[in-house]
């Protein structure tokens, strides 16, 4: 049985403690201390040609076929050799495409390592590394809290700025959608049309409140819009179950109904905060009425790098415009 805490941002790890102390923005900019020898990775079949690699860091979606390998996100750099070993159990083909859902290192930190490890004699060059243009802007610009510069080889080499980008790989259409100003300002969700699998990055993280990274352009309204976009794309099979399978940024496999619950939760919380802000309540007054009490036992946390308190502050600041 898999350790579920490994699936949720590495709660309880040294990394989580470091993140708590340093703050979200700083933490996502810094490579965490991870011992690959102790990390457990699990490759799980999703549907069609798509698999998911789960462990410390974000989920890595893996699509394999006659054309080679495509990844959505890379996980941490330190885990790239171990992740690659798991991918090689599925395919010996070259990695030709990597889509990065957003800038955080638990999803993008392994770009350079995976690109290098994914080269084979069949490669005609390094993989295309797709990301929304704001990911590149965030990587090339100054890092939060004067963090170290991100090396050029870790940048995407195929950024897009229109609402969508699509290509055809391993016998199916792959559609990349930009969902603006959600978890960050550069989020992408990736739809594998024949396999009927949607990979969402961190705009959807079942089991924990969404991380609204205000310092990188995230917002509550954008996050809700992104969840509604996911619901638009997904089509359930019989009686609102199955059909399109959703691979979240962290956590277990889901379908549309799970996203609906998550969207409902955030929409209801947004409605409450709007009302309280309209009444002129301060952040401290909002916290005092425990406005998320009904959802805290499902999604909240008092420890780790993203606590309920931090979520409440982010929602309040996002909706009030106060910094």
């Amino acid at each position: 049985m898999m350790d579920k805490h490994r699936l949720s941002h590495g709660r309880g790890s040294v990394f989580a403690l470091a993140m708590l102390m340093a703050g979200v923005a700083q933490c996502f900019a810094q490579p965490p201390q991870i011992n690959p020898d102790t990390v457990q990775l699990t490759m799980a079949p999703v549907q069609g040609s798509v698999y998911v690699l789960m462990g410390d860091g974000g989920n890595i979606t893996v699509q394999v076929g006659k054309d080679g390998v495509m990844l959505v996100d890379t996980g941490f750099a330190q885990l790239a050799p171990k992740a690659m070993a798991e991918i090689r159990k599925l395919s010996s083909g070259p990695i030709r495409w990597i889509v990065i859902t957003h800038v955080h290192t638990d999803h993008s930190g392994g770009i350079a390592a995976m690109a290098k490890l994914g080269m084979t004699h069949e490669s005609i060059g390094p993989p295309r590394i797709v990301a929304q243009s704001n990911v590149l802007n965030r990587m090339t610009g100054p890092q939060p809290n004067n963090g170290p510069k991100i090396p050029e080889e870790e940048w995407p080499n195929d950024e897009y700025f229109l609402p969508t980008k699509d290509f055809f790989f391993n016998g199916e259409a792959v559609v990349v959608y930009h969902v603006p100003d959600a978890h960050t300002d550069g989020d992408s969700i990736v739809f594998f049309r024949r396999s009927d699998v949607l990979s969402t990055g961190d705009v959807f993280t079942p089991g924990s409140y969404p991380i609204i990274d205000l310092s990188r352009g995230g917002s509550v309204d954008g996050e809700i819009a992104a969840l509604n976009k996911i619901i638009d794309i997904t089509v359930p099979a019989r009686y609102q179950e199955g059909g399109t399978i959703v691979v979240p940024g962290h956590g277990r496999l889901c379908d549309e109904a799970d996203v609906v619950e998550y969207r409902n939760m955030l929409t209801i919380i947004r409605d409450r905060f709007r009302d309280m802000i309209k009444k002129g309540m301060t952040l401290e007054q909002v916290k005092a009425v425990k406005p998320t009490l009904d959802f805290d036992t499902e999604y909240g946390s008092t420890t780790g790098f993203w606590t309920t308190d931090m979520f409440i502050e982010a929602v309040y600041k996002s909706l009030s415009g106060k910094k």
Binding site: M1, M2, K4, L7, T42, A44, V52, M54, I224, A225, L227, N228, I231, P236, R238, Y239, Q240, E241, G242, I245, G251, R252, L253, C254, D255, E256, A257, D258, V260, E261, R263, N264, T267, I268, D271, R272, D275, V289, P291, L293, D294, F295, D296, T297, E298
Partner: protein
Amino acid sequence: MLSALLVLPAFAQVDFTGEWAPLYHEDGPERLPGPELGDYTELPINAAARMAADTYDADRISVVPEYQCRPHGGDYSMRGLGNLRIWREIDPISEKLVAFHTHLLAWDSERTVWMDGRPHPPDWAPHTWQGFSTGVWDGNMLTITTTHLKINYMRRNGVPRSDKAIFTEHWTRHGDYLTVVTVIEDPVYLTEPLVRSDNWYLDPGQNIGVFGCEYAPEVPRPEGTVPNHLPGQNPYLKEFADWYGLPYEATRGGSETMYPEYQKKIAGEYHPPEKCSRYCKCTSLFDCNVTSK
């Protein structure tokens, strides 16, 4: 002699195969037309569940299109409206029981209770409405454990049940009657297990029809609308207490309110109406409505 031995059941188990009709002698108003708003009695819920139910707006089941065809959860299915079919799956080589399958009228819900000793799925596996069920025999009683449920309701007036809940069922057959006792454990919304029971009778002539469901938004709303009452602003919460003469606190649920000792605590505060005015009769779908006498 040899042929007699060959047809002996391996573990003296009971066969639940057949067509079963529900009996609504327990909790009829809750199970048939649906619970009153604000009625959390008999539920050992915590403050989180209470707030979720208090802020629930029943418009949600029509306004949120994805809710229109949402089935009951596996823990609620046996309480819901509709008839039941149970059949066995036998391994053709070994003749061993592999699974019981159930089909319920409501949302054509189908469920498999694996009897072959297989493990439950890993944490990363998708959750479903009916969950993943395995059964073991306890004498003639079948005990079923179900995990991997989707978020759903504990009671249909907004009291939630989480996706971390598991439930255990005990199926017992007494001739033509089937009794199902369900024990729900939910670390998110319950402070202690919730125990409920339902009964069925064998009805071999039963013919279950097709339920069918297609969602159809009928009132234009902004995308993503999720009806909800703001905390403290639900005007309907006290109706149940007023109608039945109960102290409001007694309707709020929680483990303390579930046990006989609580009656002493509210002695003098319970003033039942002199004459029954709501659900005075409720034994089946055909006689259970708010004005039934």
